[in-house]
């Protein structure tokens, strides 16, 4: 997709980024000690910290990823909203206050508070690094998507911009800066997302999303012995046909431009429906709907096929309330665009064909995680695995855990968690409306689900789009900053100072942290470029699974099982982390990235949590029981 570049959008975007940088430099001057760098001196007000929690948590995954996934797969994207929020229950009821009591700067401090074990310092630091880096990848991917849409630069330029700005922020400021950036951004995100949802409801449902929306045509077709022999419009020439199980696609040509069509049945007769196509020709040229990308023939999509209100078919509903909106969506038929990739006559063809889906199917799980139609044992296990990882992952995320050290008391830690739950919960309710709004308002870029929410805002005007994009970008800046602080803390504080006993001065710890921040930032930039095409929400789900597998068993067992030993914690972290990483590396998604067939993956699970989380717990228990005497 090629996006129009607007001076208004660029101006607003730059104002936001410069404000964030200005704020960071202002607080940088106040950061002199390690306590200030890693924990904001422990003096942040609970309400500010609560909103900053929301800012940290409502990362690219929530804003870009969930909305995008709902826009493409309906309720399955909302599963992430439910799971992400439920994870805060674990954080509030089991983890928040004890973590505050035990820790100093990092997650490793808390785990090691009882034992003073070098093994824990090492494994907890490595786990923090791995989780932070996995969480950084989707943020970088999201940043690339925003910059491409807003400024027209290629994806890698966006990733480089975010990486550089964040390294600059973190290398100069630390936790005080990231807290205030997150506070402001978290607040703005809620306000402007509410405005978008209000506009979606005010517009209601409409079979014609806008005057500019592409008018899809159909052609009558004649088949003899399963082969297309003629179409109703004589200007079209038949170039070929591709059969794949129940799906049949044909290639036509008109005025020297080829196009791909999908065969459907209407009243028992075959018809051809337009599909969007991206074709890489034998000479490497890439054509969008048969023409070069620069000609902008690759349009945005997503519309309602049929609206039913109280059993009557209508063209539009007018303004609706939040419950009525969901009810109407459920009663309607929506045209989604489903991806199909294949090789035809030496050309790599990717089609996005019209897939009319009932509102009932959209408003329940099953379009992404197969639970009913087309389900099997593994698809159901994947659903359980995802829900388990989301539930257990939140309270094991290093950049969330370190925020408990920025407040002055246990009570403040608890209250800030509740503020976070209320704010984040409200936002997650909005995601369902933003996602479905994007699905039906003709704004989807079929190649990139991540930009659905900002593109929805664009349908209501360039100013709102610019503000939303700038907030999304600031969201990423803030989240990446928090993650890099957590990762640099793991390197400088846990590894260099505590594990290697390098006896750094206060100033030395801050300097080491800043160098570590630069290193982690560079790794994140590289991975952000590699994972360009993945849905950011899916990638965050993986980070949650690693965190839940490696860190959560250690945290919970330390707090609630007296027989836990330092060796048990270390081995629990190692096995949980390695198991989750191995499952991810051999999963269908990674096979796709390697360029292999996803259905050939050794492990048919998308999310490793169902295996690796119990494995982490079991390892910790067994090793603790085996090493009990040594540590008494």
């Amino acid at each position: 997709m090629i996006y129009e570049i607007s001076p208004t959008a660029i101006t607003i975007f730059l104002i936001f980024v410069l404000t964030v940088l200005g704020l960071s430099f202002y607080f940088a001057r106040k950061t002199k000690s390690a306590s200030g760098y890693y924990a904001a001196g422990g003096q942040i007000h609970w309400a500010v910290n609560g909103i900053a929690f929301a800012g940290d948590y409502l990362s690219a995954a929530s804003f870009l990823g969930i909305c995008g996934m709902i826009a493409f797969y309906g309720y399955d994207g909302f599963l992430y909203s439910i799971g992400y929020l439920a994870g805060w229950v674990v954080a509030l009821f089991l983890v928040a206050e004890p973590m505050k009591r035990l820790g100093k700067y990092t997650f490793a401090d808390a785990l090691d508070s009882k034992f003073d074990s070098r093994g824990i310092k090492l494994t907890a630091a490595i786990s923090t690094l791995v989780v932070s880096i996995f969480y950084l990848i989707p943020q970088m991917v999201g940043a690339g998507a925003i910059v491409t849409t807003l400024l027209g630069f290629p994806h890698y330029v966006g990733v480089l911009i975010v990486g550089s700005v964040v390294i600059l922020i973190v290398a100069t400021a630390g936790m005080t800066s990231t807290t205030y950036v997150q506070f402001i951004k978290g607040g703005l995100l809620i306000v402007f997302s509410s405005i978008v949802v209000f506009l979606v409801l005010n517009k209601g449902l409409n079979v014609s999303p806008s005057d500019e929306y592409h008018k899809f045509i159909t052609l009558d077709a004649t088949f003899i012995d399963g082969k297309l022999t003629s179409v109703s419009d004589a200007e079209y020439k038949i170039l070929g046909q591709f059969n794949d199980k129940d799906l049949v696609f044909v290639k036509l040509e008109k005025n020297g431009v080829f196009s791909w069509w999908k065969i459907s049945l209407k009243d028992g007769n075959p018809i051809l429906e337009e599909a969007l196509s991206v074709v890489t020709m034998k000479d490497g040229t890439k054509l969008y709907n048969g023409e070069p990308k620069a000609l902008k023939k690759f349009y945005q999509v997503g519309h309602i096929n049929k609206i039913l209100v109280d059993g009557k078919e209508v063209d539009r509903t007018g303004p609706v309330g939040p419950f009525e909106y969901i009810k109407d969506i459920e009663a309607s038929e929506i045209t989604r665009f489903t991806k199909k990739a294949f090789v035809y006559d030496g050309e790599k063809v990717t089609l996005y064909y019209q897939n009319i889906t009932s509102g009932e199917d959209i408003m329940k799980p099953g379009l992404y995680y197969k639970l009913d139609k087309g389900s099997n044992f593994w698809s159901r296990l994947d659903f359980i695995s995802l829900m388990l990882a989301l539930f257990m992952g939140t309270s094991a995320l290093p950049h969330i855990l370190i925020r408990y050290y920025t407040v002055p008391s246990q009570r403040a830690a608890r209250k800030s968690t509740i503020v976070a739950i209320v704010v984040i919960g409200f936002f997650y309710i909005l995601t369902l409306y933003m996602g479905t709004g994007a699905m039906i308002n003709g704004c989807l870029d079929v190649e990139n689900s991540n930009m659905s929410a900002p593109l929805l805002a664009k349908t209501f005007g360039i100013t709102l789009f610019s503000i939303i994009s700038a907030i999304a970008f600031a969201t990423i800046l803030g989240t990446v900053s928090g993650l890099i602080v957590a990762a640099s803390g793991a390197v400088a504080h846990d590894l260099m100072d505590k594990y290697m006993k390098m006896k750094l001065t206060e100033k030395g710890k801050v300097t080491a942290g800043r160098f570590a921040a630069v290193g982690v930032g560079i790794i994140a930039i590289i991975l952000g470029i590699i994972f360009e095409k993945q849905n950011v929400n899916f990638l965050v789900g993986l980070a949650f699974a690693i965190a839940a597998s490696a860190n959560l068993p250690a945290i919970l067992m330390l707090l609630f099982w007296k027989k836990t030993t330092s060796q048990g914690i270390s081995w629990g972290i190692i096995i949980g982390m390695v198991a989750s990483l191995v499952i991810i590396l051999f999963s269908p998604t990674l096979y796709e990235i390697y360029g292999l067939a996803p259905d050939q993956a050794w492990i048919p699970l998308q999310n490793p949590g169902i295996i690796s989380i119990p494995l982490g717990f079991i390892t910790l228990v067994i090793v603790s029981l085996m090493t009990k005497k040594k540590t008494v």
Binding site: G42, Y75, I82, L85, D116, P365, L388, F391, S409
Partner: protein, 91 residues
């Protein structure tokens, strides 16, 4: 060397009560959350069933889980604050 907290925390005598309450509330939420996952896995069609005001079970249950987390959080804070005020007097 053990690791002291970032700020000095006063003695809290209400920890056992707060911990017990936290575990109970966690288990309650866990059961309700597991119910959603169970229905989705074993009876996926049930999530499409209309339950309240023409809304389906998936919508009501999902929204319910989000709202319940916030409500339980507020209840938890109310009782924890009471424990702290009562047991930490003069501490």
């Amino acid at each position: 060397m053990l690791h002291e907290p970032a700020v000095e925390l006063g003695k809290d005598h209400s920890i056992p009560q707060k911990t017990k309450l936290g575990v109970i509330m966690f288990l309650v939420y866990l059961i309700i959350y597991a119910g959603f996952v169970f229905i989705g896995t074993i009876f996926p069609k049930a999530l499409g069933a209309k339950v309240i005001g023409a809304q389906n079970l998936a919508f009501i249950y999902g929204m319910g889980l989000i709202l319940l987390a916030a409500v339980m959080g507020l209840i938890y804070n109310f009782f924890c604050t009471r424990f702290e005020n009562k047991l930490n007097k003069g501490a």
